[in-house]
């Protein structure tokens, strides 16, 4: 994550230059981070259409309002993405609970008949997401970002954690995850 958006001092002549520079910077960030932001969101919601919608929302927010000066825009992106993703995960859980109570078990697979392997994978994914939703938010965020391919340095910037603490927090998150996962049986 090495791109930064330069804030040029305002003057009538350079206002246009600033706009152009911002647009170029935005396109660069989009190209570099689109796949991974989608990846983070897909891991949280498990549905490609929803993941795409959320990913577009994240980049739209960056487009209309860049993060404050000095803040790494990519770090901001991952933070907003995890926030939106976990919101969606919680909403989905509530919806499923409501539907279960109403007597319709909503499965996360397409209505068309699917091979057994897809049904199994959907179930397995649901179990993992359920586990994630039970962790401390910080732990869950860290695990998802790590799974999506972010380095310690990138996670440190995205979650605003001292780089030296990542190892400890990651070990703790993994312990928490295993405990919760085993509990599900």
């Amino acid at each position: 994550m090495t791109v930064t958006i330069e804030r040029v001092k305002r003057s009538s002549a350079s206002a246009e230059q600033e706009l152009a520079a911002r647009e170029v910077a935005f396109e660069t960030i989009f190209r570099e981070h689109w796949p991974r932001i989608y990846g983070v969101l897909f891991r949280l919601v498990g549905d490609s259409a929803e993941a795409e919608d959320l990913a577009l929302e994240v980049f739209w927010r960056l487009y209309r309002r860049p993060p404050p000066t000095g803040e790494n825009p990519a770090a901001w992106l991952y933070r907003v993405a995890t926030n939106l993703g976990f919101n969606a995960l919680r909403a989905r859980k509530r919806r499923e609970r409501y539907e279960q109570q109403a007597g319709n078990l909503a499965l996360e697979i397409h209505p068309a008949p699917n091979p057994l392997v897809e049904v199994e994978r959907a179930e397995e994914r649901r179990g993992v997401r359920e586990t994630l939703s039970r962790l401390e938010p910080r732990s869950a965020q860290m695990l998802v970002l790590r799974a999506a391919g972010l380095s310690y340095a990138e996670i440190s910037v995205a979650l605003k954690i001292a780089p030296g603490s990542i190892g400890t927090l990651l070990a703790r998150a993994e312990r928490e995850f295993e405990q919760q996962y085993q509990k599900q049986g």
């Binding site: 396109e27 989009f30 190209r31 689109w34 796949p35 989608y38 990846g39 897909f42 891991r43 498990g46 490609s48 993941a51 795409e52 990913a55 577009l56 929302e57 980049f59 739209w60 927010r61 487009y63 209309r64 309002r65 993060p67 404050p68 901001w76 933070r79 907003v80 926030n83 976990f86 919101n87 919680r90 909403a91 509530r94 994978r121 397995e124 994914r125 993992v128 997401r129 586990t131 695990l143 998802v144 799974a147 380095s151 310690y152 340095a153 030296g164 603490s165 990542i166 190892g167 400890t168 927090l169 990651l170 070990a171 993994e174 312990r175 995850f177 295993e178 996962y181």
Partner: protein, 391 residues
């Protein structure tokens, strides 16, 4: 002297400096206990990684190609309107609830900095609304605009405030559905209304925020209000605000798209009577929060002087009272009235209409844990008659 778990873990991921790497490698080779710990950590890390790996998208589920994605983003951008932050959180673009929107906007602004006092009996105290006190303020609009334009305030909502929708926006529901989904006994007027109402459900919202006091102070500074003091003990407190699903009963033509706007912020709908009911909003916060100070800060933010704010804050019972700012900028007036057997408030808003000036009267009251709002484009006596005819 054994190795710290965090360092070992970082070592396994290759995230340490060469010096540290060497130190750990040397120690590990000589220390069976640390070797065992490293083994445990490594196994668990591998296990968790394998489990999380099933979440990864397959080829069929991969991210759309860059070109297609960028095109879709452009569509997304053109479709989105520039909606002010508060409206975005609590409003839906096609909602004809112009009066309800006013109320909800005011609630949203006032709930953004809640004055709460938690009950000592539970870890998370609960604030349950019983009455509403209105305070006339001068500059709420300016505060609202400044907050809206504040990067830091918007950042707070983008990143730090957890937002969960409650229920869904639904149109044309039955009375039975409405009451069930909103969790309240549905009441409707029986006099001075014609025909059956259209019943719509307004999505509720739950906002949760863990207070970052330096962040809030930065925001106050950004909007030029460093004079407002926030209690130190609110740092780290988790505050959550819940606005339940609301039932909107519309009588007459309440479609704002038919209204004559003429550049006004609020469309004028001369034949629309709107009746809103919802379970009381709730606020949760940890006990021991310095309420008087927080309440005073809130009142100052709404435009009161420090002296006025101190005085009012000390007389208000913050556990049961929601303080609503009423802007005088729009020529709003307010009076206490008896309505539906309780003390409520009548808000009069003078409006420019195609036929000259007219008054929108809104009645606001709380009864038996339900918050009611009735907006009527006519004489307040008629509004009262409607409100008193609820069954």
């Amino acid at each position: 002297m054994h190795l710290h778990e965090g360092k070992l873990r970082a070592y396994q991921d290759g995230a340490l400096s060469p010096t540290e790497r060497k130190r750990i490698s040397v120690h590990s080779s000589e220390c069976p206990r640390c070797q065992r710990q490293a083994e445990t950590l490594s196994q668990r890390a591998g296990q968790v990684e394998a489990r999380l790996a099933v979440l990864a998208p397959t080829a069929a589920e991969a991210a759309p190609a860059l070109g297609a994605a960028r095109a879709r983003l452009q569509t997304h951008i053109s479709r989105k309107e520039k909606i002010p932050m508060f409206q975005k959180i609590f409003a839906r673009p096609y909602r004809p609830a112009w009066a309800g929107l006013t109320i909800v906007l005011i609630l949203a602004i006032s709930l953004a900095f809640p004055g709460v006092r938690a009950l000592a009996v539970s870890f998370l105290g609960l604030f349950r609304l019983e009455r509403i006190t209105l305070i006339q303020v001068e500059d709420m609009q300016e505060t609202g605009t400044r907050l809206n334009n504040s990067e830091k305030f918007n950042a707070l909502f983008d990143e730090d405030v957890q937002y969960e929708a409650i229920g869904e926006y639904r149109q044309n529901v039955t009375a039975a559905e409405a009451g069930a989904l909103a969790g309240i006994p549905l009441r409707l007027p029986t006099e001075k209304v014609e025909g059956d109402p259209t019943l719509n459900l307004q999505q509720g919202a739950r906002l949760t925020y863990t207070v970052d006091l330096p962040e809030l102070r930065d925001i106050l500074q950004e909007i030029g209000r460093e004079d407002i003091q926030l209690p130190a003990d609110m740092d780290g407190a988790t505050i959550s605000v819940e606005m339940p699903i609301a039932v909107l009963a519309n009588y007459g033509d309440c479609d704002y798209r038919n209204a004559d706007r003429n550049g006004r912020w609020t469309p004028w709908l001369p034949h629309c009577i709107q009746f809103v009911q919802l379970a009381s909003p709730t606020i949760s916060a940890p006990p021991g929060l310095d309420v008087a100070q927080l309440g005073k800060a809130f009142l100052q933010l709404m435009g009161l002087s420090e002296d006025e704010a101190t005085q009012i804050s000390q007389t208000v019972d913050w556990t049961t009272t929601l303080v609503l700012p009423v802007p005088t900028a729009y020529g709003a007036t307010y009076h206490d009235v008896m309505v539906d057997g309780v003390t409520g408030t009548l808000i009069g808003q003078s409006q420019n209409t195609p036929n000259g000036r007219a008054t929108l009267n809104t009645l606001l009251w709380v009864k038996d844990g339900v918050l009611y709002s009735l907006s009527y484009p006519g004489y307040f006596q008629d509004a009262l008659a409607i409100a008193n005819s609820l069954k």
